[in-house]
Amino acid sequence: MNTGIITSFVVSGILLLAILAMNLNISQSSSELTMRQVNQQNVNTVAELLSYDFPKIGYKQLSAINNPISVATANRIRFQADIDNNGSAGVVEWFYDTSSPVNKGSNPDDYILYRTVDGNQMALTFGVTSFNLSYFDEDRNAITAPVSSSNLDDIRFIQVNLTMETRELLGQRGGGGEYITSPWQKTFAPKNLSN
């Protein structure tokens, strides 16, 4: 066999390995992109629900609700609001239950976030790994959670910190991997909590 053919075989071998590596890279990138998009979509779903409920704290179609917040802790808030705009106040609760792990997927850190409206409970099992509520008075001073019943009336702003992760690990070459994380944060200023 002549040298030229041997050399071209070697170079082609290297070329094939490079193509294989590139294929793996593109596949990895594509998986990450898809998982991130799905995770971001899940964050948007929860954010939409939060953005629907929280601004309505204390709202009632024809009259105001006095003392609408009844429970305010770092992982639970219960309040009254005319969510359906039908003239009657309902009770809404958001509760992040760290004793209820989501048994779907391999992520060990996701727990169930419950949204309850007038007793109808909805379990959000999209991969919520952190849900933290902070409360502030009208001068933006933090009110320590859990908020005592005598301080519930002082709440004017509610900050929500939400982190969601994918249920499955994004594998990496050489072993291991990571869960894709998407954060969301917003401070709500419900109009009916202001004086």
Binding site: N2, T3, G4, I5, T7, S8, V11, S12, I14, L15, A18, I19, M22, N25, I26, S29, E32, L33, R36, Q40, P55, D139, R140, R156, F157, N161, T163, T181, S182, P183, W184, Q185, K186, T187, F188, A189, K191, L193, S194
Partner: protein
């Protein structure tokens, strides 16, 4: 020399493949950048909206705090600008307000998102800040919240939200 043409062909293939590889890498990098940038945009919008929503709950002017109504409207309104005490008690007290924020997207302590707020009196029909005034009262105040971040800088882009507020009083 026998076989030299095969070597040349293989080298040609390698050059073509290198170009494809470069393009693919660029595509992967662009995708990753866009992912981070879109998350950063979301965070910046939420930050700006939070400030606007907070300001919405405050009285229109320092002279309308506690339900007071100036005898002359709009001449009775105060100049737009931060309050003397530094508190944000009314809508225009947010003028000049700046702050930096940490988010879950960034490392703690980096304060990667910077917020700047401007409030001015504006007039119809354009309600633009450029022709607005801090000292000549009108019935309208406009707030512009600008969020800047290194994570948005790839396209030299800031997130800017504005909110126009009109004074009204209820006749009893």
């Amino acid at each position: 020399m026998v076989g030299i043409s095969e070597v040349i062909q293989t080298l040609g293939a390698m050059i073509i493949f290198s170009l494809i590889l470069l393009t693919a890498n660029r595509m992967i990098q662009t995708n990753t950048l866009k992912e981070v940038e879109s998350e950063a945009e979301g965070i910046a919008i939420e930050l700006a909206q939070s400030i606007i929503e907070e300001a919405q709950t405050k009285p229109f002017d320092a002279n309308t705090v506690n339900g007071n109504i100036p005898s002359q409207i709009p001449q009775g309104f105060s100049s737009a600008g931060p309050g003397s005490t530094g508190d944000r008690n009314d809508f225009d007290d947010y003028d000049g307000y700046t702050d930096s924020f940490d988010t879950e997207l960034t490392d703690p302590g980096t304060f990667a998102f910077n917020v700047n707020v401007q409030v001015s009196y504006v007039s119809p029909p354009n309600y633009d800040m450029a022709s607005g005034s801090k000292t000549v009262p009108t019935m309208f105040k406009k707030m512009v919240v600008t969020v800047t971040s290194d994570y948005l800088r790839n396209n030299n882009q800031d997130i800017r939200l504005s909110y126009l507020r009109r004074y009204y009083k209820r006749d009893n």
